[in-house]
């Protein structure tokens, strides 16, 4: 950990929510993420940036239970993360996807209700017998889902099919769906990809509003202005290693970061072949874990 306790704006840094210690992920002989430490405290927005192929998504997948780190461990509120993505969600880490993965043919409300899955208990018998408990739980779920839709501003479109929403609203819906699982930490994977400046601004507001609810946020993003406006702390990942971590000014001023992004030669700059290698290795690692969740183009 670098000395980086300088946080800007509201200094509501509370307890440590996420604590990744020495996370290393190897695919065969290739190390995609090497000995990365990262903590996220409650009430904090942390950004994760890095050039393409730096291992951001691999690291992200280690946090969401899609991959199990080869070395090191990830703790969420002092509990080591379980190795299954649905258990991670149940533990309190929710995520969105880089390429939107809504349940396209379900309504907006139904999408959020699916997000409530881990916070409700009603099983098959309860659904078949339809006792008073079932109706109560269902009504409570709906109410909570509508609250969340109101929060992101989609309450008027609750009965629309998710696929019919405009792009920006689909992003919002994905966030609402993730929030439905009542997470303590929200992981956003490129939340503004493909957005125009207005939509990006709106997303910024939304992320601040989420932070104000007491939910810690970890964002991966390419939009630097967005990241530096938003984040209390930014970590830079280059070639699988954490290069620097600190507030926006520190990171922006760091010459190694500038070098990594602008491609100026420095001692350990990732060559093109290496990037390709990392990506190929990641793709390969996906293939054998067929039954495990992680495949992108699955039915």
């Amino acid at each position: 950990m670098t000395t980086d306790t300088t946080t800007k704006g509201t200094t509501a840094t509370g307890e440590t929510v996420l604590d990744a210690r020495g996370v290393t992920m190897r695919f065969g002989g290739l190390t995609a993420v090497r000995n990365v430490n990262l903590t996220v405290n409650s009430g904090e927005i942390v950004g994760l940036i890095g050039p393409n192929g730096a291992g951001k998504t691999t690291f992200f997948n280690c946090l969401t239970g899609l991959y199990i780190p080869t070395e090191g461990e990830v703790r969420y509120k002092d509990q080591v993360l379980p190795p299954k993505s649905f258990k991670v969600t149940a533990a309190g880490i929710a995520r969105t996807f880089q390429n939107i993965r809504l349940f396209a043919n379900m309504t907006v409300l139904e999408n959020v209700l699916v997000g409530r899955h881990t916070r409700t208990k009603e099983g098959l018998w309860s659904a078949l017998l339809r006792g008073p408990g079932f109706h109560k739980a269902e009504a409570a779920s709906r109410e909570r889902a509508m609250e969340l839709l109101e929060f992101v501003g989609l309450d008027a479109k609750a009965e629309h099919l998710a696929r019919n929403l405009p792009y920006g609203e689909q992003r919002k819906l994905e966030i609402a769906r993730a929030l439905a699982s009542e997470p303590g930490l929200l992981l956003l994977d490129e939340p503004t990809a493909g957005m125009n400046p207005q939509e990006t601004r709106a997303t910024e507001e939304l992320v601040f509003a989420i932070r104000d609810k007491g939910i810690a946020v970890l964002v991966i993003e390419h939009d630097m202005r967005f990241i530096f406006n938003l984040c209390d702390r930014v970590a830079v990942l280059v070639q699988g290693e954490k290069l620097v971590e600190g507030d926006s000014a520190t990171v922006q001023g760091d010459e190694r970061v500038v070098a990594a992004y602008l491609g100026e030669p420095f001692e350990d700059a990732p060559g093109k072949e290496e990037i390709a290698e990392v990506e190929a290795a990641e793709a390969n690692a996906d293939a054998p874990t067929d039954a495990a969740p992680g495949k992108e183009n699955d039915r």
Partner: protein
């Protein structure tokens, strides 16, 4: 390039998209011809079409339509009705919310095809046109006039694709095909439905009752068709009639109403189904009825697995077999290895539970696979069941299932002293053995329908749909994919087992070859899946309708002989090409297959 673009714009400019008919007759004359032709066709069905009763159905009587004449009568009446509606007659507008023109065209076409099919069948069967009486000529002319009149009705012409001068002749041919197809499509395209005037709730319930009564009538008529010509005519008229009603927007309007009153609809449908044995004098048709119900119930159970959770199960019939064998073994049958005779409620529960256990045993290792792999493994397990049962005959294995002879002489059920093997008289109607089982099976179907409805509209049902839509995202939402899929698999298995317990008693005997992957007689895994896909995945009424059709069509098309399965396969291929979402589509599914079609922004409950 420049020359090319100029020519194509010139061609596009030349093309005129003002609405006009397919045939050059003025619109008002065409409309009059269609309506009048329909009316004349109705009148002609009261005349004799042929001189001899040798043609089945006796079309020789004046003043009393028989056989195929009834179908033409219905088609003609429908054409006239839509014709009158297009003149804006008060009260008929409710029937055609999406415009009546394309409905007239389809109704006229259906009437024409049925009538000319009849005329040709008479001529060919009796040897020549001389066998036609004047009524036959009149109906031929009347339906032709109605069709020509209907085709003269104007429609919005699509802009044809422009040929590329560098096209090969083959490409030009394809282009011409595409253009004429879009023209035909536009010809029968219907307008957007106008929103319905709100009618009081009692009137909506009356509409539902009328729809159910119509459904029962059509179904009863179809089951009762006594000769091949009539059944073919029935298929033609019913198909075109339904298409015409759908084009008029009436089907959409009624399904909106049924979606609003789902409980009333369900009760209405079951009352209509329960009325079926009372409409029959012969237990023969109740037999068909009970087999259809068994088939449909199992298909509905499969729809939970395939339609909701998206798990392609090709060995589903094995669970029906497990239920049937379980019930047979505890029925007190002399060929059962166990000398137990449980009451029906106990054997039904036992059958369902045993099937569920088998479901879990088979599901636990296989559900970790996805997609095609799951299909192959379930196919294998289905065959393992059949072959194991075949070999547990005392020589190749332990003597449990009596091998290929199966368990025979399964006694009839007796619930509270009501002997299912005996004839009973209820309110003056004789209810024989198969009708008794029909009622019992209907009860089981009701159970399965309720289970389907309740489970699909709940936390677990949403999890199934989420898994089907995107498994990775569903897992990231905290859904334990394996557990949820296993529940779907086990529930489906239990429902099939439940249906199997009744099936064992209905058929007297259970043998391994009843539970193959593919076989000529339904239910088998291939037919079950076909029923689900044909009817519409993820809906309740879809598999019921699909199963009824899949049972009736092979049973009624016996005259095709060896080509029966071939024709059947062709029909399935054609259907899947043009309506991949099934006959009664789930709104969600329909969107998946018709991306280009404008999607309704709001998902109504009607299609679900």
């Amino acid at each position: 390039m420049t020359t090319q673009t100029t020519t194509s714009t010139a061609a596009a400019a030349k093309h005129d998209t003002t609405p006009r008919g397919a045939i050059n007759i003025p619109e008002n004359i065409g409309r009059a011809l269609a309506t009048g032709g329909g009316a004349l066709a109705v009148i002609s069905t009261f005349l004799a079409w042929t001189w001899t009763a040798a043609f089945p159905g006796n079309l020789t009587v004046y003043g009393y339509p028989g056989g195929l004449q009834v179908l033409v009568l219905i088609g003609g009446a429908l054409t006239t009705l839509f014709g009158l509606a297009s003149y804006g007659i008060k009260g008929l507008g409710w029937l055609t919310p999406a415009g009546s023109d394309s409905a007239i065209k389809l109704a006229a076409l259906g009437t024409f095809v049925t009538a000319w099919y009849t005329i040709l069948a008479i001529s060919i069967q009796l040897g020549g046109l001389v066998n036609l009486e004047p009524g036959g000529y009149i109906v031929a002319v009347a339906t032709l006039v109605a069709l020509l009149g209907a085709l003269a009705l104007p429609f919005e012409r699509p802009v044809p694709e422009i040929a590329d001068p560098e096209d090969t002749p083959w490409e030009e041919f394809l282009l011409a095909g595409r253009n004429s197809r879009s023209l035909v499509k536009a010809c029968f395209a219907s307008g957007t439905a106008t929103p319905a005037r709100t009618i009081p709730a009692y009137a909506e319930i009356l509409v539902i009752v009328a729809a159910m009564a119509l459904g029962l009538t059509v179904f009863t008529y179809g089951i009762g068709t006594e000769y091949d010509e009539l059944f073919v005519g029935f298929l033609i008229t019913a198909g075109f009639g339904f298409a015409a009603l759908a084009k008029a927007g009436l089907v959409g309007r009624v399904s909106a109403i049924t979606g609003k009153h789902r409980n009333v609809t369900m009760i209405g449908a079951f009352v209509a189904a329960a009325a079926f044995p009372f409409t029959q004098t012969d237990d023969q048709y109740a037999t068909i009825g009970v087999y259809i119900l068994i088939f449909a119930t199992v298909a509905l159970g499969l729809n939970i697995v395939v339609g909701l959770a998206g798990l392609l199960d090709l060995g589903y019939v094995a669970f029906l077999g497990v239920g049937a064998y379980t019930a047979a073994m505890v029925s007190g049958s002399p060929s059962s290895p166990f000398d137990i005779h449980l009451p029906f409620w106990a054997s039904a529960i036992l059958g369902a539970v045993v099937a569920m256990i088998f479901g879990v045993i088979i599901g636990a290792p296989t559900l970790r696979l996805r997609g095609d792999y799951l299909a192959i493994v379930t196919l294998g397990f289905g065959e393992i069941f059949r072959i194991s049962v075949l070999n547990m005959d005392g020589t190749s294995g332990p003597d449990i299932t009596n091998g290929s002879n199966g368990i025979s002489s399964i006694p009839n059920l007796n619930i509270f002293g009501f002997d299912f093997g005996q004839e009973h008289t209820i309110a003056g109607f004789t209810i024989a053995r198969f009708a008794n089982y029909f009622f019992l099976m209907l009860l089981i179907t009701l159970v399965v329908v309720v289970v389907f409805r309740r489970s699909s509209d709940s936390r677990i049902g949403r999890a199934w749909i989420a898994i089907r839509e995107d498994e990775t995202a569903a897992l990231a939402m905290g859904i334990n994919g394996f557990r949820v899929k296993l529940i779907a698999f086990a529930l489906g298995a239990a429902l099939a087992g439940l249906a199997g317990t009744v099936q064992a008693h209905v058929t007297y005997t259970v043998t391994p070859e009843q539970y193959q992957f593919a076989h000529v007689v339904p239910p088998n895994s291939a037919f079950l899946l076909a029923a689900v896909v044909l009817g519409g995945m993820g809906t309740i009424s879809g598999p019921l309708v699909g199963a009824a059709l899949l049972y009736l069509i092979p049973a009624k098309l016996q005259f095709l002989g060896d080509y029966q399965l071939f024709a059947f396969g062709m029909a399935l291929v054609i259907l899947m090409r043009f309506r991949p979402e099934g006959l009664i589509p789930n709104r969600r599914r329909q969107l998946e297959f018709h991306e280009e079609a404008e999607a309704p922004t709001v998902l109504s409950k009607a299609g679900a």
